[in-house]
Symmetry: C2
Subunit: 330 residues, 2 copies
């Protein structure tokens, strides 16, 4: 697989991005093209010994920041690392792209430059998250703040294909995020979506109430991007709040410090279980190429895992499977 990497995206770019690429080529049969200021990227690369055939630098002089207007930045900064990486996908110079940079710019760029798959009304962002029983996927988490029922049906179809292939679950379950278990519960969107999902051919198991989400019992959770983004951010917020308070309280006395020391392996395990870094990045499904958005705070391990995820999607031919599924269903 040939893959383009936005060398300047994310809080720890380019240092951790380059480090992640170095780790990735050791473990996988891939060819990486890192976009960014040539000199800067090369300085990082020169810190390592690596197979020079497997990583190449593609010069890009500009960078798009998190605070720039996504669509305007993509339109204006044609020589940005993110624009260059996406253009390589469009031109079929690479099979996929990963960025830890501005989510807005990446999604806007993927839609504008790479383009939608025929029949896909709205591409959607789909991260894999840690649940008690196992990882689960939420689609969409912010690419489409307002959705129509048909959009959610397509999210279900695309999510099912991705989960099945990349997470290796033969028959993933699909649920509709809703504020009640019964079919007639919810808002206008979920009430209209439920019957469509029943008929859609996906392995639909009904509504999933938000209280049940952390259990990870349903593989693919479908919702509009406003709801999905709220779930994603609150999930992180509550967890980090609890761990924060726990830490504060445990450091208060010698006695509790000893308790904390004894329980260190337990906390470490739980923290690992709740670590997004294990799962790499969020797939942007519905565009005509493998586009993975890595977490903005990705370290080298998270970024390496995102690359692995892209490779997995490539090896399972996910894009063509989405194409033929949506052709048949619409």
């Amino acid at each position: 697989m040939r893959i383009a990497v936005d060398g300047m995206g994310g809080d720890n770019a380019p240092i951790d991005i380059v480090a992640g690429c170095i780790e990735a080529i050791k473990e996988n049969d891939i060819e990486i093209f890192i976009t960014g200021p040539e000199e800067l990227i090369n300085t990082e690369l020169n810190k390592y010994e690596y197979d020079k055939d497997k990583i190449k630098v593609v010069h890009a002089s500009e960078v798009i920041g998190n605070n720039e207007h996504p669509v305007m930045a993509i339109r204006r900064k044609k020589d940005s690392s993110i624009h260059k990486a996406l253009t390589m996908v469009k031109n079929k110079e690479v099979d996929g792209v990963i960025s830890a940079g501005s989510t807005g710019a990446f999604l806007a760029g993927a839609t504008l430059i790479v383009g939608r798959i025929d029949n896909v009304k709205r591409p959607a962002l789909a991260p894999v998250m840690p649940g008690k029983k196992g990882p689960f996927m939420i689609i969409d988490v912010g690419a489409n703040a307002d959705c129509k029922p048909l959009n959610l049906v397509q999210f279900a179809q695309m999510g099912e294909i991705y989960f099945k292939n990349v997470l290796n679950i033969e028959k993933p379950t699909v649920g509709l995020v809703n504020i009640g278990a019964e079919e007639e519960k919810g808002n206008e969107l979920t009430k209209a979506t439920y019957p469509l999902l029943k008929e859609s051919g996906v392995n639909f198991v009904g509504n999933v109430e938000p209280r049940e989400i952390p259990k990870g019992e349903v593989n693919v959770l479908v919702c509009d991007g406003f709801t999905g983004n709220t779930i994603l951010k609150l999930y992180e917020g509550v967890a980090s709040n609890i761990f924060g308070i726990l830490k504060e309280e445990m450091l208060k006395t010698t006695r509790t410090k000893i308790g904390a020391l004894i329980l260190k392996p337990v906390f470490k395990k739980i923290k690992k279980d709740f670590d997004y870094k294990e799962y790499g990045g969020a797939a942007f499904l519905g565009v005509d190429g493998i586009c993975i958005k890595a977490h903005g705070s990705s370290d080298s391990r998270a970024f390496k895992n995102a690359i692995k995820q892209a490779l997995n999607a490539y090896n399972h031919d996910v894009i063509n499977k989405i194409k033929s599924s949506l052709e048949n269903n619409i």
Copy 2:
């Protein structure tokens, strides 16, 4: 204050409901009317020594369950404990009502029997939740799955009055739950609501991203009922998931059991900090009477706190304050 209590609502009714009432009359100057099957309620009451002038039983032969259709159940079961309690508010025989029973039936009944305050388009359910810095309120958490911008403005006005008076904060801050910090972020609803909130006269501090919610830095959070219910349920779900995993892991070895024993006071404190029981119940704001929905799993302490909350709202004349505020603003 005279208050009606639905004696048959909630998982622990009537035992914990009656026990909560007994505790409440000891601590507060109130008169309670418990609705429910006379014999059953009296059997519970007879377990205690208490001032008979302060608790009276109002016979109601029927009970509305959680699985009944709310509006139909309220219309048909006119002799249910919940219907009788709400009717007493309507007839001004009492100043307020509390139920730990079916949320749907309570909200439907409060709207149909007690009735909306003039000018209030949609009453809203507003629980107080535990945050790191302090308690905060979310309004609405499920009474209105679909909302218009004007609804959210009224939620802000009512929530501000309630929080100021019942939680004793001179100038509560009001935030709009949104998936971005900037004014132009969000879905159609939040984008249209933001400018209205700026002009509404409430102490609006802008958007609050879900990740920030657990910090409890903004007092009153405004959103549609679908979003609010999602936040409420996910908040509980993530917290109980983390504590559940923690418990499982800590019971695995003798070593970790010792650590858990040492840290017991820490876990107890955190559990208390995250305990909804401290805050009693959720106010249903916008109806013409103090209507408090206690948590379905309320024990006697939670129910006593819900009664205290109702008394607090009564002593601060919250209903009349909402009336005059909404008169002036619309």
